[in-house]
């Protein structure tokens, strides 16, 4: 094993260190109002993490089959010869290496960007609250380090997720990133105007993700029950084995090894290990169990990766500051589902039904979200739905078995979507500045929404850098060659065209809409005339923000190089083949179809042209309605995102609330309290009270719990009285004990 591998724990511990520094010394580091120290430290730690990820990449070049670096035993319980142990082992293979590079690379850039952005954001908050300069400084001293502490924690958690070598460690990362997401969505939970909405958005994300996590937990339990282990390698090896042989044989073959290294679940559950896949009284076929496991895993993925039916949290999550949306809700965390499915590719290969379901859900999400994005006005929401849609592409790809395409798109999407979010942040930043400049002149009004595209327009003159990078990102997303997005999307479409025409058609339509809404956005935001004073006074962001944008723009342009579908240039496919057993690696010449490429490019260009016709030729005027409104109800339908939230409200939330109310007020209060307690028990009690004496009443009313409590308390105070304080008494107690022990031993002896 290359000794470089042993550095891998640092990839997690650098960000963790950064978090600790910012938690404990953050306030000290904020020496003055413009201090950037906490952000610099956080970015430095993220950068070091990236260096480690690069080193891992280098080490993997020599040993592409990957290694597992043991770090510590998380817990281990042994009973006799049986052991349940969950190690925290770092899995360094080509798949996790790609994830690490994306997470730390994009993460570092966004950390740097956030230094500038959060300064502005906190100033904005301070002015919103009308704080004095001292109070504003205090706010900054508290919030600036906190933000970077959360950010670093997120990075560490995400890295735990992608480097864990078993499902449980992955699940720990899974939950931790969820926590960070929650904390960061509600970062401005105390915003005087929208604070409550921010915290509600955080809660929504958390609750919706709980549903997905329920699936994950169930899947983990099933995996454990079926295979007796949670280690990736062991699970997959045993799954492969069970495909042909019975559970009996597969688990018996390596029973000796299991006792040594892996958990033995019969210890926990008391069921025999050596039966066909049995759950106590139920016995299921291997196929069924695999479908159950993979579908439950899919439920987890739909939660974290915002797919139908659980995608509703992601648009609301845009309440968080912009770097959060970029890093967590576009580039990294939401791709955890794709990573997880790719990691579990062996399991999905054995459950074709689940794989198909994955593909359908992905394609449907891609299309639905793309249509919704067309009718949004909030610049961030457009991007949020676009993210959902693109995640749908990836999910569809992995569902079809195109793991390479999925991961490829994951990487390029991380580049261009982070770029888009960050430049949108730059736009909002600029607009807010413009708003301030005008607000001081008396034009300001509190209802002004700096994220509404209808309030923008004509920004190209004021933000020269931003517009360039934005257009690069938009074209990459739209899939225009030779930008990164084209190559990855094309690979997905090619996979789809080969395996499932329906999916291919859905995705192609979604791609058309993608190009359209991006065109719409660009025309609306950057071209035409400024529609508000704020837009007219917007200005370019500082270099600390634009530099990462430029780097990301470069990546979004040339990112396709990592996996060009021509012969030996198919690097990523070769790379992933080492760790993804069921990755499609097309034979030479089959990796590219000119037909698919031309169709998608032409459609994208057509969509852009259409958007130019609608929005470019006749720029939106101040107060003018969106031209698409001609579609009438259809537009409203899309604008209200297919009424998903309303449907959930009607189908789940309202019945649930009704049930809760019914239980609380009717059952608990009226029936139990008013009727049973007040009428039945009390009348019964009153009746008996006439006969029985007072002390008995008390016992009945307070019920058994209090009765036992009082019994214990009574015993307690009575026993306490043995504690007289006399040494002689204590000595007597000792003597009593001695005699009892001696007597017991003698009796025991002479009795037999």
């Amino acid at each position: 094993m290359n000794s470089l591998f042993s550095l891998i724990p640092l990839v997690v511990f650098f960000p963790l260190l950064g978090m600790l520094i910012n938690i404990f010394f953050g306030r000290m580091l904020m020496a003055d109002e413009n201090s950037k120290a906490p952000g610099v430290i956080a970015s430095l730690m993220a950068g070091l993490s990236f260096v480690i990820a690069v080193l891992m990449f280098v080490a993997l070049l020599g040993e592409p089959e990957g290694v597992e670096v043991p770090f510590m035993t998380w817990f281990s319980i042994s009973a006799g010869s049986r052991t349940l142990s969950i190690p925290w082992t770092f899995k360094v293979d080509t798949l996790s290496s790609v994830m690490m590079l994306v997470v730390t690379g994009v993460g570092t850039l966004i950390h740097i960007y956030a230094i500038g952005y959060m300064h502005g954001d906190i100033d904005e908050q301070a002015s919103k609250r009308g704080l004095s300069s001292d109070e504003a400084f205090d706010l900054k001293r508290r919030r600036f380090p906190r933000f970077f502490a959360y950010f670093n924690l997120f990075l560490a958690s995400m890295l735990i997720l992608v480097t864990g070598s078993n499902y449980l460690v992955m699940f720990v990362g899974w939950e931790l990133v969820g926590l960070c997401s929650y904390l960061l969505i509600g970062f401005w939970f105390d915003d005087p105007i929208v604070g409550i909405y921010n915290s509600m958005a955080g809660r929504k994300a958390f609750v919706v993700n709980r549903i997905g996590d329920f699936g994950m937990v169930m899947a983990l339990m099933l995996i454990f029950w079926t295979f007796g282990t949670l280690q990736f390698d062991d699970v997959f090896a045993r799954a492969e084995c069970m495909r042909t042989a019975s559970q009996f044989e597969c688990l018996a073959v390596d029973a000796a090894q299991m006792v040594e290294t892996s958990p033995n679940f019969s210890l926990m559950f008391g069921f025999g290990l050596l039966q066909p896949i049995s759950f106590g009284a139920i016995t299921l076929s291997f196929q069924t169990v695999m479908i159950a496991i993979t579908l439950l895993l899919l439920l987890g993925a739909t939660g974290k990766s915002a797919q139908i039916p659980l995608f509703v949290w992601l648009p609301d999550a845009m309440a968080g500051p912009m770097p959060v949306s970029a890093l967590i809700h576009a580039a990294t965390m939401v791709t955890a589902g794709i990573y997880m499915i790719t990691r579990s590719n062996v399991l999905y290969a054995m459950a074709p039904f689940s794989a198909d379901t994955v593909a359908i859900i992905g394609a449907a999400t891609a299309l639905v979200a793309a249509t919704i994005a067309v009718a949004q006005f909030d610049i961030k929401r457009v991007l949020a739905y676009s993210t959902i849609s693109q995640l749908g592409f990836m999910i569809a790809a992995v569902g079809l078995g195109g793991y390479v395409a999925g991961i490829f798109h994951l990487a390029t999407h991380a580049f261009f979507k982070a770029l888009l979010f960050l430049s949108a942040g730059s736009v909002i930043h600029g607009i807010e500045h413009g708003h301030h400049a005008t607000a001081h002149k008396g034009h300001g009004d509190h209802a002004f929404d700096p994220q509404d595209m209808r309030n923008m327009g004509g920004l190209r003159k004021h933000m020269p850098t931003t517009i360039v990078v934005y257009i690069v990102g938009a074209l990459a997303l739209a899939g225009i060659p030779p930008l990164a997005g084209f190559w990855s999307k094309d690979e997905i479409l090619l996979d789809a065209s080969k395996h499932d025409p329906l999916i291919y058609i859905l995705l192609t339509i979604a791609a058309f809409f993608t190009a359209f809404y991006m065109g719409r956005q660009v025309w609306m935001v950057f071209f035409g005339q400024p529609r508000t004073e704020a837009a007219a006074h917007a200005h370019e962001s500082p270099p600390v923000m634009t530099t990462p944008l430029i780097i990301l723009a470069v990546l979004a342009s040339i990112g396709g190089l990592m996996n060009l579908p021509f012969g030996r240039l198919h690097f990523l496919a070769e790379w992933l083949r080492e760790s993804v057993a069921y990755a499609h690696v097309p034979a030479a010449g089959e990796g590219f179809s000119i037909t698919v490429a031309v169709i998608s490019t032409v459609l994208a260009l057509a969509a852009i042209a259409l958007s130019y016709i609608i929005y470019g030729t006749k720029p939106l005027q101040e107060g003018q309605a969106d031209p698409l409104r001609v579609a009438g109800p259809l537009f409203t339908f899309l604008n209200r995102k297919w009424y998903w939230d309303e449907a959930y409200e009607a189908v789940f939330i309202r019945p649930f609330k009704c049930l809760a109310n019914w239980l609380a007020f009717t059952i608990d209060w009226r029936f139990w309290h008013d009727f049973v307690h007040d009428s039945v028990i009390i009348q019964f009690f009153d009746g008996w009270a006439a006969i029985l004496s007072r002390p008995v009443d008390m016992g009945i009313v307070d019920g058994a719990v209090n009765g036992i409590g009082r019994l214990v308390a009574g015993a307690s105070s009575r026993l306490r009285r043995t504690q007289t304080g006399y040494v002689r008494n204590y000595a007597l107690a000792v003597a009593l004990g001695v005699v009892a022990i001696v007597a017991y031993l003698l009796i025991r002896f002479f009795a037999n």
Binding site: M72, I77, A713, L719, V727, A733, V738, A740, V742, L745
Partner: protein
């Protein structure tokens, strides 16, 4: 006969003990040179000695992980993983004991350099307890552990309660020791040796004298049961804990108990495996009684020190349960691991809880009522949070070392049930009394957060450090118990 040569004495094996012993003697002289107003220098010097021992222990860990065990002093003591693990606990406890006293003693006007010297001496006693391989050594180490504690209990001599505590502890301790000696005598009568391994051989080969040995074992239980505060030898505990200066209470609630258990485990498992079912049953019954009494009486306590005293009795019960589980040789190693792990978790948690009690205590020794904790949730949020964590850990709630310790103990006991069905009943008692214990532990949390009060506390840096370290340790044991438990399990008797 020939005097022992240096090799058979094997000084390196007992190096940590020698460091502390030598340093204590040196410190005694140094202390004379340190002016009265600078007595904290003595404390820092004592810390230096303890850290030296810690370093020596650190090097020994690796050594004994490889070699297993080594005898020293002609087989009078055995140094193995078990003793090393416990020595680490003792040294850590002693370090905490010094840090806790650093500020407490001057505040209460009882600052004297001898405090630290005595602390070092009692630590030696504990350390030797953990490695004793001969009943004579057990006895002398027990006295070396106890006598400094008697003195330390009376350290606040101007307070009557402190004096009373010292006298009670001394009288009862002497009384219990006499039974221990009688037990040693009977065992010697029955086996002709005091060496633990020799006893084990004699017990299996000589059935005729078995009754003598068995009763001797029973009396040994009395002496050691007194140290660990098991029912019915527990009655000194509340009075002494309440009367003694709080740092001393903190120190002995952990150190003396762990020392007692160290000797108990080693004596029972090494010397009396042949009569395991006898002591197993006895200890199981004692464990049940101890859990019941400790938990139930703790409910009606209003003084935090008394409450923690009964709590410490209750916890002795839980640990005894694991000791009883060690009767079955197949899972003795798991049971011993559970004991050792529980001791560590309990040490961290209890030291933390006492640290908070010290911070709340006022200079005149009052302020030890639970009601004095009212309002701390607002005035001292971090300290209150730590205290809440300690209370939850003592109850056995998740993410705390207390829970994991209890799980291991109960698991160990359940595994031994096939050998001794009585254990099942005791486990049930243990689970039920854990529930009962929530009542009085949560009361502290409730008072801190729900009740209005001044919430005054003095929290100098030393206490903060201890608080942070113990809270961190409690959490770590609760979240990633794996590594420590593996070490604890490897800490078998060799």
């Amino acid at each position: 006969m020939q005097l022992p040569i240096l090799e058979s004495i094997n000084l390196m094996a007992v190096l940590p003990v020698l460091i502390i012993a030598g340093w204590a003697c040196v410190l005694l002289v140094f202390d004379l040179l340190i002016p009265r107003s600078r007595k904290h220098w003595t404390a820092w010097l004592a810390l230096v000695g303890l850290l030296g021992a810690a370093v020596a222990l650190f090097f020994q860990i690796g050594h004994f992980a490889r070699l297993g065990s080594e005898a020293a002093f002609d087989g009078m003591v055995t140094v193995d993983g078990f003793s090393i693990f416990l020595q680490v606990v003792f040294v850590l406890t002693a370090i905490v004991g010094v840090l806790l006293a650093l500020d407490y003693l001057p505040r209460h006007g009882i600052e004297r350099g001898e405090y630290y010297v005595l602390l070092l001496f009692t630590t030696i006693g504990m350390m030797i307890m953990s490695m004793a391989a001969d009943l004579i050594v057990v006895f002398v180490a027990l006295e070396l552990l106890s006598i400094p504690l008697y003195i330390l209990s009376g350290f606040a001599g101007m307070r009557e309660t402190s004096e009373e505590a010292a006298l009670k502890y001394f009288l009862l301790g002497a009384f219990a020791s006499s039974f221990l000696v009688y037990g040693i005598a009977l065992t010697y009568g029955g086996t002709g040796t005091t060496r633990l391994t020799g006893i084990a051989q004699a017990v299996t080969s000589d059935a005729l004298n078995l009754p003598l040995t068995t009763v001797g074992m029973g009396l040994l239980l009395v002496g050691l049961g007194f140290k660990v505060a098991a029912v019915p030898f527990h009655m000194w505990t509340p009075d002494v804990y309440q009367g003694a200066p709080t740092p001393v209470t903190a120190f002995m609630s952990v150190g003396a108990k762990a020392g007692g258990f160290a000797a108990l485990i080693r004596v029972l498992v090494t010397a009396f495996p042949a009569i395991a079912s006898e002591w197993g049953t006895l200890i199981a019954v004692i464990a049940g009684l101890t859990m019941l009494l400790g938990n139930i009486v703790a409910i009606s306590q209003s003084n935090i020190k008394r409450m923690l005293a009964y709590s410490s009795i209750a916890h002795a019960g839980y640990i005894l349960l694991a000791v009883a589980a060690a009767q079955r040789s197949e899972n003795a190693s798991f049971a011993i691991g559970a004991v050792v792990f529980y001791l560590l978790a309990y040490a961290l948690t209890n030291l933390g809880a006492f640290t908070v009690a010290i911070a709340v205590e006022r200079d005149d020794g009052t302020g030890t009522e639970i009601d004095d904790f009212a309002g701390l949730g607002k005035t001292r949020p971090w300290m209150a949070l730590a205290m809440a964590l300690f209370m939850l850990s003592l109850t056995g709630m998740p993410i705390s070392g207390g829970l994991v310790g209890k799980v291991f103990v109960f698991q160990a006991a359940l595994q031994a049930v096939p050998g001794d069905p009585l254990l099942l009943a005791v486990v049930i008692i243990g689970v039920l009394t854990s529930v009962v214990s929530a009542f009085y532990y949560l009361k502290v949390i409730m008072v801190m957060y729900m009740r209005e009060g001044e919430g005054k506390a003095v929290l100098p840096l030393a206490l903060k450090t201890v608080l942070a370290a113990t809270a961190f340790g409690t959490l770590v044991l609760g979240i990633i118990p794996g590594p420590v438990f593996q070490m604890a399990q490897r800490a078998m008797l060799k």
